[in-house]
Symmetry: C5
Subunit: 375 residues, 5 copies
Amino acid sequence: MVRHTETKAHTTHKRTKRYVQRIKDRSEKAGQAPESLVSPPGATGTTQIRIVDYDARTFNEAEAQSIEECGTYAKTPTVTWINVEGPNTPELLEAVKQSFGVHPLVLEDIATTSQRPKVEVFDDYVFIVVRMFRYNDKAATVEEEQVSIVLGKNYVLTFSEGHNDAFDILKQRISSNEERLRVTGPDYLAYAIIDVIVDQYFAILEKLGERIELLEDQVVTSATPSTLEEIHGLKTELVYLRESTWPLREVIDRIEEAKTPLIKASTHPYFRDVYDHTVHAIDIVETFRDIVSGILDIYLSSVSLKLNEVMKVLTIIGTIFLPLAFIASVYGMNFREPEVASEWGYPAFWLVTAVIIIAMVVYFRRKGWILQSTA
Amino acid sequence: MVRHTETKAHTTHKRTKRYVQRIKDRSEKAGQAPESLVSPPGATGTTQIRIVDYDARTFNEAEAQSIEECGTYAKTPTVTWINVEGPNTPELLEAVKQSFGVHPLVLEDIATTSQRPKVEVFDDYVFIVVRMFRYNDKAATVEEEQVSIVLGKNYVLTFSEGHNDAFDILKQRISSNEERLRVTGPDYLAYAIIDVIVDQYFAILEKLGERIELLEDQVVTSATPSTLEEIHGLKTELVYLRESTWPLREVIDRIEEAKTPLIKASTHPYFRDVYDHTVHAIDIVETFRDIVSGILDIYLSSVSLKLNEVMKVLTIIGTIFLPLAFIASVYGMNFREPEVASEWGYPAFWLVTAVIIIAMVVYFRRKGWILQSTA
Amino acid sequence: MVRHTETKAHTTHKRTKRYVQRIKDRSEKAGQAPESLVSPPGATGTTQIRIVDYDARTFNEAEAQSIEECGTYAKTPTVTWINVEGPNTPELLEAVKQSFGVHPLVLEDIATTSQRPKVEVFDDYVFIVVRMFRYNDKAATVEEEQVSIVLGKNYVLTFSEGHNDAFDILKQRISSNEERLRVTGPDYLAYAIIDVIVDQYFAILEKLGERIELLEDQVVTSATPSTLEEIHGLKTELVYLRESTWPLREVIDRIEEAKTPLIKASTHPYFRDVYDHTVHAIDIVETFRDIVSGILDIYLSSVSLKLNEVMKVLTIIGTIFLPLAFIASVYGMNFREPEVASEWGYPAFWLVTAVIIIAMVVYFRRKGWILQSTA
Amino acid sequence: MVRHTETKAHTTHKRTKRYVQRIKDRSEKAGQAPESLVSPPGATGTTQIRIVDYDARTFNEAEAQSIEECGTYAKTPTVTWINVEGPNTPELLEAVKQSFGVHPLVLEDIATTSQRPKVEVFDDYVFIVVRMFRYNDKAATVEEEQVSIVLGKNYVLTFSEGHNDAFDILKQRISSNEERLRVTGPDYLAYAIIDVIVDQYFAILEKLGERIELLEDQVVTSATPSTLEEIHGLKTELVYLRESTWPLREVIDRIEEAKTPLIKASTHPYFRDVYDHTVHAIDIVETFRDIVSGILDIYLSSVSLKLNEVMKVLTIIGTIFLPLAFIASVYGMNFREPEVASEWGYPAFWLVTAVIIIAMVVYFRRKGWILQSTA
Amino acid sequence: MVRHTETKAHTTHKRTKRYVQRIKDRSEKAGQAPESLVSPPGATGTTQIRIVDYDARTFNEAEAQSIEECGTYAKTPTVTWINVEGPNTPELLEAVKQSFGVHPLVLEDIATTSQRPKVEVFDDYVFIVVRMFRYNDKAATVEEEQVSIVLGKNYVLTFSEGHNDAFDILKQRISSNEERLRVTGPDYLAYAIIDVIVDQYFAILEKLGERIELLEDQVVTSATPSTLEEIHGLKTELVYLRESTWPLREVIDRIEEAKTPLIKASTHPYFRDVYDHTVHAIDIVETFRDIVSGILDIYLSSVSLKLNEVMKVLTIIGTIFLPLAFIASVYGMNFREPEVASEWGYPAFWLVTAVIIIAMVVYFRRKGWILQSTA
């Protein structure tokens, strides 16, 4: 059991560690020019650029060597999805600036992978930052990653820190001729990407929900110190999750309100839809917070109740045997007690003892102590 | 008593289980095309389509075999209420799309029966999602169900997961010639449906109110661990109820504000009225939350008070008998105590014992310990 | 003391009972036509209709037999106040509809005496619902009642559940020629009625304030379990009071903003004034909630402190006498202890005992235990 | 120490008493005509009217016998400050009405000295109510008083319940030729009065801050039951302070927004400045509330920790001496124990005793109990 | 350990002391003319004026003897940054008034170094107050300082209480030809200064985050009373930090909205960016508050759990040895017990003893007490 506790603590601790690490990455930029492009401190691995280029009739998939190569695709009237996975090197970002003409601040936001969800509408493109979640089953913790989206006239640029299975599935949906995706433009693709990300919130919430279900069961039947760890772990996850979902609501709301020709009127209901999903996810997070804090109350109360039970046992034993021990000691004194001389002394002693015990038991039963301690 | 506790825990646990199940249903859609129509995972049973077709003079009721059949009714100038009960198969939804021309996203929302309350105003119809509650007396828990409403020019489409007695009563009100219902159009029918659903909130709140009343009584006179279970159960119900009622307020507000010819000016006061009812229900939910959390405080305090009482008993016993036992032991030692030799030794011993006991009782009475422990 | 506790619990319990009863009354309407007029379930007694008809020069007071009779008064240019007290029968409400032409929903709101405060502005009249409070000194609880006000061109209709002394005083102010009341129109009368009702909030708050004052005094000097009851009772009253006062603020604000010729510009400062009073009452309710929850903290802390004190006594006694009892037992063993043989054995035993007791007392005094336990 | 506690409790109690007294004064008006002018119930002493009349070049100070006298001053183009100190008799207020033509509701607000801060803009004058605070060092409590300000074309009327030193200082600043005060008009004077009042909030907050500082120090080193009293006292003061400062923010905001020629554009930055100060004061109040509630947490935790420490001592003693006492008793039994016969029995007994004691001490030290109890 | 505790307490105490000191500085101004310029009470040291004057091609750095000297620089079309470090004497501020024509209230705000963050837009300049933080590693506490910024047509004036390393780095960025800084005007410089200050918030949050990380680890494995101190210390820091960051959000929002030609359209995205950073910092502060208050819950629960564990040990010992001691005493009585006469008496006694001990151990193991106490 001790081990279990340590594991849990370790997990929560690691969650906070990762959160603080992000702040560190963010804070190390202090003092630099606002648009300075540095590799994120902890980033390793190589960067992969995947291109998906399609319209109603054609579909091409390719792996690009450089951003410049992508620029050519983006200029064609077909929809081009350029997905950059892995750390963003200054060179790569410089190339993005050259090929797509994005604002230096946007590049900085792409490079700093600890951004708050945001949207920035420019004349030629819309820049969106969202946070993606993934449930790590082994560590029983939520992993978080930034996805930056640049929606241009004929292209969608996405930057993510690692490889996303969800993006593969989306690509497959495009290639398998899903009608609306193929017919509509890049705004719909941008929506589809955000929708896929928001859908994963529900997967996370499902996992947390299952843990809450288990916890609710456990807290009643068999609360242990590790239950407390689990409560704290869940609370912490929900706090971090909350911080990332609340701003998303505002972001999608602002995308909808933005008067930009880049997002067609026909795509608006879809953004409205993903907005509803986000709000739903936020509602669930808030509900879970309430439930978990209710579970903590139950836990604390059950600890108090157990203490009461423990103390009742001690008090019952003490109240019965302390007076009895006193009586027994009395007749062990060196005085010549008249009772000792009597023939009926010894049986009388046991009678008194029995009477005291029975009286006490009756008294405690009336007070509900014995009943409750066995309940 | 143990059994009672388990039952309660089971109930709360099942409530959370159902809630998490809904999130699971929702999350399983992740990765699919946004408009993909799949049967809800847990849905079973057959789907029934009931038609009520009426105007000021005529009234027809029929059971339809298919949605296409309903389309014919809907085209006549009479008001047609098509009530679909049971799981929504993809085929059925496809037929709805063909016959009534609703947006694919609307179909998806109808299919996913774990939606947040919402309203979407289109040119030809208004789409409304509300959540209906039913109190399960046996399980002492609240059951929840989604009702989707499509308000068109001459028709109202409703989709619910199961059969609603409340809808039967409404149908009867139409057939029994209730004036306003027969004279007014489908917008009034849509209002009447929502009104019936909101009215049931008060039925739920009444049941919860009764449980709170009982709890308030119990917590003072006879709090047991199962009381704590009941407090947690009520808190949980209220948290879930809250999540479903708050958005409804916004939904009805937006129906009122919507500038659509589908809702006539004369129906607006009715929507205003149901809005007021919703806000009232929310107020009651919040008030109940405050009351229940006050009851928890009382419960926790009474646990502490009982611990105090228990400890006072032990302390009184210990404080009286530990010194006495010591004295008795002293005169049982192998030393030749001069007191033992004295003739008055033994009576003197009992005198000292009596003095100590009386002094202690007086002392504790002055401190209010004995008075309080019997109060 | 036991009795006192039960009384208090009974009171709080009854308060919640009344609240739940209102929800029941409300919920029993479920499934009925929205405008169906049924007598409120619990209402008994006869209905009284009093008419006060006045202008700057004339003043008439009468008891009407029927609403139709009142209609005649209302048509004259003098201000007519029709005060209906007691249960509203469907016949009476039907007569109101015929004579004053109010909307069916308004009639329903008048009939359902568990409404949330609201205002509805129609072309010919303004409909206002407020909640009136009365402090029941015997039961030490707040009683609540709905007052519905219909402000028409030349008349004010009021419906209340019982007889109000406050209305009598207002009538007297009219009859005794209070200048402004006589000169101004029905809008000022409506204001005066609301003002009288809001003024009573302060009377309620005064009573609760006195109880809080008492409680604050008590919690320090002599907290008993009944103190906890009183804290819960006050918290509960404040929660219910809050639910009724918050919406009133909005109601009066909307009266002020309403662009209706029924309320003259010269009356606006008066509504502004009663708005300020309402906000002040709300402020006091919130302040009281904060104070009472502070008192609960003090109470809980003092319970913990008392437990500490109790345990210190036991620990001091145990720590002194358990070792001593052990020593005494040692010299009661059957071994032939060398100390027993010694002449100085017995005095030495008492010396050791004294040293241990003194050492312990000094130790506990240094630790602050003995000092604090007597403080 | 007992005495100290009582004093503190007394102080907090008196604070609440004064607060409730104000509600009583307010509530006694119930049932009266809204504009009825009655002397405040508790008011005693005589009323003083001081006039300060100045412009850039002239400065006159006088004590007026009646309000009528002041009217003459007010009509001259010089700035006239009429400061009425003490209870407002109906005659005095009637004179104010005659001379300055203020609305009856304003007079009522001046008479009722328990108003919420408010501002009312009329054509000819602006009416402002603010609450002034004074720290009573002896009673260690905050005293509160209403200041009503009527800002007219050439005059400022102020009504306060008692004499304010702060107003004397302001008068001195005028007489000592402070440039801006002499050159600018009555709007600047009104600002200066409000500024002086808001400045005193910081004096109050300074005093409370010092007490919080002390408390933070005390709670760690030497928490006593009186510490709890002090925490409650501070919390209560902050709750009352908060109720008075929040509305002031709104009041000053509304003065700024008011489009009245009585407040010149050049005075606006000054009102903006005093607005900033008010918001700052509110921020500090909220921060103090957070800090004090953090201190309460520390206090409660330290009580629990001390209980732990107490119980550890008892448990250590009990765990060591209960088994030992049992063993000693065994060899005091009437059985003929073989160990007693042995020569090595008695030394062996002491050896066993020593081993048990040492083992227990080592065990508790490992568990961290002994270390912690001395820490 | 005791020492450690004291140090921590000392630190928190000092933090509150500094906060209260600021209120004192602020409150000592009470009663003075609003624009009176007095040296801040606690300020010492000399004031340094540094000038950085640059445009795209030129760069000059100088130390000025007086403000008048700076005025000359400011009039040239090059961007001039005048950085005043140290206490602001009345003479200096008077010179600022003469040379730059700022409003007297602005001078007062510069002089009072305990301002709330604010922005004031004038025709010729924009006045901004922000609060700067610095983490004092030695004292493990956050230090706070006011930075006042006056943004004019060709110049930026900054006033800070001490020397800022961050400003040196910014100067270096200018001198090292950072493109955007050199090309753009004073509005960009003002942005860069605020950006540098906000960046430091993340450095502070990183430090606090590390402490929270440590705390989360500690609270599980080895909570001591000093842990409680650290929790309180962190909570306090976060409360103070929160008070300073929330208003900044509003300030930057108002800078963006201000329609002043002093801030060019091209600079707006930068202010938007620093706004996002501020909001992010606020989010982190709120998240940290939630986490720390979760840790406090864990701490309190673990204290309760430990008490349970302690009490279980005592109860187990008491429950086993009190009855045994009673039995042993019985056979030490002066009665002639028949069992003593029996040959098997003594072995039987030990058998009974063993049976009782084993039964108790089994019983407690079943109850989970012994398992848990060793877990």
